[in-house]
Symmetry: C2
Subunit: 427 residues, 2 copies
């Protein structure tokens, strides 16, 4: 990790610079695959699955038997763990339901809004080295609570054509039974356009590699919404002289192991912890299977020693996806946080709690997007429709103002829609 | 208007087809202007304002004197009308505040989320033929309620370098005092990149012509969020044999006068109203200053006679931006509406009420986007940050599940962040 001790504003800017993303332009490839899927449907999906994933599938849809037998393969410990996480995620996301409240803005003018689940949503779950069943929970539970009518999941199969049983178990637990064994650009194209097998959805969710990311971006040209723009994952830990060095190092590494493009930042008011953290990092690193990934991520990362009163502006300028507060002045910081994805407070709140089981969502805005985006929540799976109902009395109260404004904006027909109503009741 | 009497599914599809949008690709022009603003700042903004708007400005920022004197120019009637509308919009949007509720998902594990205003937002208010001061209210009021720290407004000036006083009055009323006299691509570029005069913002709001729309789309490459994708405006009216013909015609025309690419649809269970509506449309059209615009829009539009039980699927398939229910079975329809932007219920609830003064927002998803997007609301101006705080007891409850799941996903450092904590308390 790079070290910055009481940096001036120029050095601080360098310390907070995110690793530049690979700017490979995949749009031509994405367009070609979308066009092929549009023209040829399922055969195109099969073709790319063979070509990119080296898997030849007879059937894209996961069968009921596969889902059923997944439960038997898993250990009881893992199933209990997944169930505990699912329960917490459900409790927290359930609390995000918005009550329908009718507001009488003035006598006879009643307005309200109603949350309605997006009818068809597509969840993308990456395959690859790790079976991300936690993401199945994080997307599937709010989709179910929002009462989305059709929840479609795509995830690439393993080389033998099977899906990791934990992914199937998590899907089944949250009520998802429409799972297709496809990944990459072709999966996103399938859900964006629709084929004989795969339905076209209204909104796409889920993480993915650069191909999936490029495809989700392109899907917006087909009218689909996406959960949020993607970027590499990141963590900021704020510490002081009393922080637990072992905890800090473990948190930095839990983010660093995500990918070589991950970034972790340690902000400390105490200079003396630097050396201790570095020693502890080395120690913990040695035991990690994903050591080389974590090491590369640490190269993109910084320890920054600052005064206490600079911390809030650093947090809000960087807008970290994950923010861990392990100081004796957490309460002071909490009041001033404006830009962050998810915040972990105190010594016993590691990021991995939120990644898996505390109840908050782990799909969060990266790359500074916390300045303008929220993480995934129940909100992400609903639209809010507004309603209004005006009585004869109401239009008498509100009508003249509408007429006056419409006239001034030069929209005479808007005015007339009120005038004919007022006339009909003799006003 | 085209007429479809009990259409089969093929004809219905034709009836519900939206006018195709002009697919002029403006990206090259947009990129060139963004590049110029990036390289040259304010002089580039001035150059394009002269070139495209034929206005030479000494000062981009509207002065306090201009804002102050706007109030004196306007009629009392208009000021009272704007104030009434502002009050209703404020009351309704204030009700959208989310209370902070802490949820203990399991003993010792507490999660919550907090809504925080997006720090810097940019509101675009079109100039042109109509001074859209109503849009100033619709965007400025939720921005103010969300406590966005900096609210910037851009609107092109008139040829004499002035801004319509109603726009300035509305802005002042909602607390906006940073108004720049610029429009078009250069205004969006200014707010996306930042210049000496114009701040870079985090999210862009507001309607605009195809140039503004293309620029907002491009702004996303600079990390900005936008309110929603744009499309031509539209209205669906549902009627039966008891509906008031004069009201229906006035509503159809109030939408049709928006632009030649507007679409209006009349869905009726009664065949006999067609002729009556057409006669009434002709009559009302004759008196409209924007007659030729409305006539062209009606050419894109349809009257569709259907059975009562087909209506909900038509509404939900089309996903109208505005939906007016003027039937004797409104309650039946209300329960089943899944896709719509804003719904107007009953004889005395014209669309123009929502456009101006009922309290609901008039920035709504067009082009079928109501399937996956909500209209602008207080939500659009905030991000929701999640928080979690876990006690020693809490990590004992939740820790083993996290360890189990992290292990299975192959993320050993995630597991270790829990293990070191459990060890520290002797578990």
């Amino acid at each position: 990790m790079k070290k910055f001790i009481y940096p001036d504003s120029t050095s601080l800017k360098i310390a907070l610079t995110r690793p530049s993303m690979d700017a490979i332009d995949l749009e031509d490839l994405v367009r070609a695959i979308f066009d092929d899927v549009k023209d040829n449907g399922d055969p195109a999906i099969h073709k790319y699955t063979e070509q990119f994933d080296s898997v030849k599938l007879n059937e894209l849809l996961v069968s009921k038997e596969e889902i059923y037998s997944a439960e038997k393969i898993l250990s009881t410990e893992l199933k209990v763990a997944i169930q505990l996480a699912a329960k917490n995620i459900k409790v927290f996301h359930e609390s995000q339901h918005e009550e329908l409240v009718k507001i009488e803005t003035m006598p006879g003018v009643v307005c309200w809004r109603k949350s309605v689940g997006i009818e068809k949503v597509g969840l993308y779950i990456p395959g690859g080295t790790a079976p991300l069943f936690s993401t199945v929970l994080m997307l599937g539970i709010p989709a179910s609570l929002a009462r989305c009518k059709r929840v479609v999941m795509c995830t690439p199969s393993r080389k033998d054509g099977s899906i990791h049983p934990a992914v199937l178990f998590a899907a089944s637990l949250v009520g998802i039974d429409e799972i297709y064994k496809i990944g990459g650009i072709q999966a996103i194209a399938g859900m964006s356009i629709g084929t004989d097998s795969i339905p076209k959805v209204h909104k796409l969710f889920g993480p993915g590699n650069q191909y999936v990311t490029a495809a989700k971006k392109y899907a917006q040209k087909f009218g689909l919404a996406i959960d949020m723009p993607a970027g590499p994952s990141e963590l900021m830990v704020v510490a002081d002289e009393k922080s637990n060095i072992e905890f800090i190092a473990s948190d930095l590494l839990s983010q660093a192991e995500h990918g070589t493009d991950s970034q972790v930042l340690l902000i400390s008011t105490d200079k003396t912890i630097i050396e201790k953290v570095e020693i502890e990092l080395k120690k913990q690193l040695a035991a990690l299977p994903r050591k080389s990934v974590a090491e590369k991520a640490l190269d993109n990362s910084s320890i920054i020693v600052v005064q206490k009163d600079e911390i809030l502006s650093i947090i809000n300028e960087y807008a970290p996806e994950h923010l861990i507060l392990q100081t004796s002045f957490n309460e002071f910081l909490l009041d001033g946080i404006v830009n962050a994805g998810s915040v972990f407070i105190g010594d016993f709140t590691p990021e991995s709690a939120g990644d898996y089981a505390s109840g908050t969502n782990h799909t969060l805005p990266t790359n500074g997007y916390a300045k303008q985006y929220s993480g995934v929540s129940l909100d992400s799976f609903v639209k809010k429709i507004t309603f209004q109902q005006i009585t004869e009395k109401g239009i008498q109260h509100i009508g003249p103002a509408i007429e006056e404004m419409a006239k001034e904006e030069g929209l005479e027909a808007h005015k007339n829609a009120v005038t004919v109503r007022l006339k009909s009741i003799g006003v």
